[in-house]
């Protein structure tokens, strides 16, 4: 029997709420079927099952919030005989042939009052403050109230919000972040929750991972020329953006330098699939990092099609669990008007993140002469426990090689 557990959809995820079961007991499950919708800080995620079997039992109810790792469902693998279902964590059901005394004892147990004799203290909080606390997923038992009768009021929530870990906003476009101030209406709850999730992950990353940084300026004239020609032959819906080129080039470079396509969990563990996560900034602030799975096996057009599918879904909070949890390496790109280059913060447990700055014209030296060429500043932030400058340098060199030969991608 397969115990299907609440997956972790991000390094900082602690729990999720099961919103809706998409399959019912008795349904035959195939690889990739969506089992349920789960609500996390990152929005509503579709949870996929990657085996084959029959859903035997749902162990968590719709609306229930459970920690990561909780068994959500039992699935009987195809071919296995129907066995006696033994729920792993629940209290044992009284056996039918039990001695008469036992069932009574079992019944009494839940009915008896809690051992603690003192009344659990009710927290006084104004309706508005409670609403705000829920929106920001705050633990109100930790907040001191300054309202009447010691109640927690709006000012107390606001004070606590101001104390929360200041965001490490290195990764995404600066102006996306600044939008928080001018927007007149209150930020939507999801975007606040996402911000918190990002903040938590980024702080953890900076605390745990010893980052080292390398940068290289790469000539983009060949790549852009190739893109221009390629787009002439494509309809507007199929047009390729430079980011698709970057994704393919990174995937190929990772093939050459596999130590960067890995995770650090008590040691370096290389990954077989190259799933490239890329940072999507949300219009109301915050980021999501969906992945393009098996990017090395996809053609450039397939990568572009993938982007066209994933980015709108990321912005609409409609991503699938596999898209959020399976990145092996991440790309961040700063685009126009942002910075010249971007130094990323590694998303644990990955071991590297590459940043692409703005593609712009600069003076370069070529064969002893100065010319104007489109260039891009590429940075690599990597985990020094996993790799060192030599490996990082090899990666950037490989990446450059591919960007100079776009036809090979």
């Amino acid at each position: 029997m397969i115990s299907f557990k609440m997956p972790s959809l991000g390094a900082d995820m602690e729990d999720g709420t099961l919103v809706e079961w998409r399959k019912q007991p008795g349904d035959l499950l195939q690889r990739g079927d969506i089992l349920a919708d789960v609500d996390t800080q990152k929005g509503l995620i579709e949870i996929e099952f990657f085996g084959e079997g029959v859903l035997e039992k749902q162990l968590v109810e719709e609306g229930q919030k459970v920690p990561v790792g909780t068994v959500l469902a039992l699935i009987r693998p195809v071919g296995a005989e129907a066995e006696q279902v033994v729920p792993p964590a629940a209290a044992p059901e009284p056996k039918k042939e039990a001695i008469p005394m036992e069932p009574i004892l079992q019944e009494e147990k839940p009915a008896s009052p809690p051992v603690a004799t003192e009344k659990t203290k009710r927290i006084k909080i104004s309706p508005l403050a409670r609403k705000m606390a829920e929106m920001h997923q705050m633990d109100i038992s930790q907040i001191k109230g300054t309202g009447p009768e010691g109640a927690i009021v709006k000012a107390d929530i606001e004070k606590r919000l101001a104390e929360i870990v200041p965001e490490k906003e290195v990764v995404e476009k600066p102006r996306e972040v600044l939008q928080q101030a001018p927007v007149q209406q209150a930020a939507i709850p999801e975007s606040e929750a996402i911000r918190k999730a990002v903040a938590a992950a980024m702080s953890r990353s900076n605390q745990d991972i010893p980052h080292y940084y390398l940068e290289k300026r790469m000539d983009m004239s060949k790549a852009l020329a190739w893109l221009k020609e390629a787009n002439k032959e494509r309809s507007v819906q199929q047009r390729l953006l430079p980011v698709a080129l970057f994704i393919k080039a990174v995937a190929k470079a990772l093939d050459d330098v596999p130590d960067l396509n890995a995770v650090w969990e008590n040691g370096l563990q290389r990954k077989n699939e190259i799933n490239i996560g890329f940072v999507v900034s949300l219009r109301t602030g915050g980021i999501m990092v969906p992945a393009i799975l098996n990017a090395d096996t996809l053609s450039m057009d397939a990568v572009m099609a993938c982007l066209n599918d994933i980015i709108p879904r990321a912005r609409a909070f409609k991503l699938r669990s596999s898209e959020l949890s399976q990145s092996t390496f991440t790309i961040t790109s700063i685009g126009e008007g942002g910075g010249d280059k971007v130094f990323g913060v590694i998303y644990p447990p990955q071991v590297g993140i590459v940043g692409f700055g703005e593609i712009r014209d600069e003076a370069v030296v070529h064969e002893g002469m100065i010319g104007i060429k489109p260039v891009v500043d590429v940075t690599l932030a990597a985990d020094h426990r996993a790799t060192d400058g030599l490996i990082g340098g090899k990666f950037l060199a490989a990446l450059n090689k591919y960007l100079q030969n776009p036809a090979s991608l």
């Binding site: 221009k228 507007v236 047009r239 126009e336 008007g337």
Partner: protein, 82 residues
């Protein structure tokens, strides 16, 4: 197609891409992408949507002509005529 209809279509599609900004506040010479905070991906979506809706082809080399509201309108009007 008259100027007003083109403008309405442009605003509709811009609103779809950047729902929290009001395209009608755009000045004629303002850079649309900067003013409405539209990145390269969204910009491509906008070009795709405009081409489909107004049935015009906008090749990559013409992107520069679509940067401001004024130039975009002029460009589209000219394209639609032929």
């Amino acid at each position: 197609m008259n100027e007003a209809t083109i403008k309405t279509t442009i605003f509709q599609l811009l609103k779809r891409i950047a729902p929290e900004n009001d395209p009608s506040t755009l000045m004629p010479d303002e850079n649309i992408r900067e003013a409405l905070n539209i990145d390269s991906f969204d910009a491509l979506q906008f070009i795709v949507a405009i081409s489909e809706k107004l049935n015009v082809d906008i090749p990559e080399e013409d992107y520069g002509k679509t940067a401001t509201l004024k130039s975009l309108m002029a460009y589209l009007q000219q394209k639609i005529k032929h």
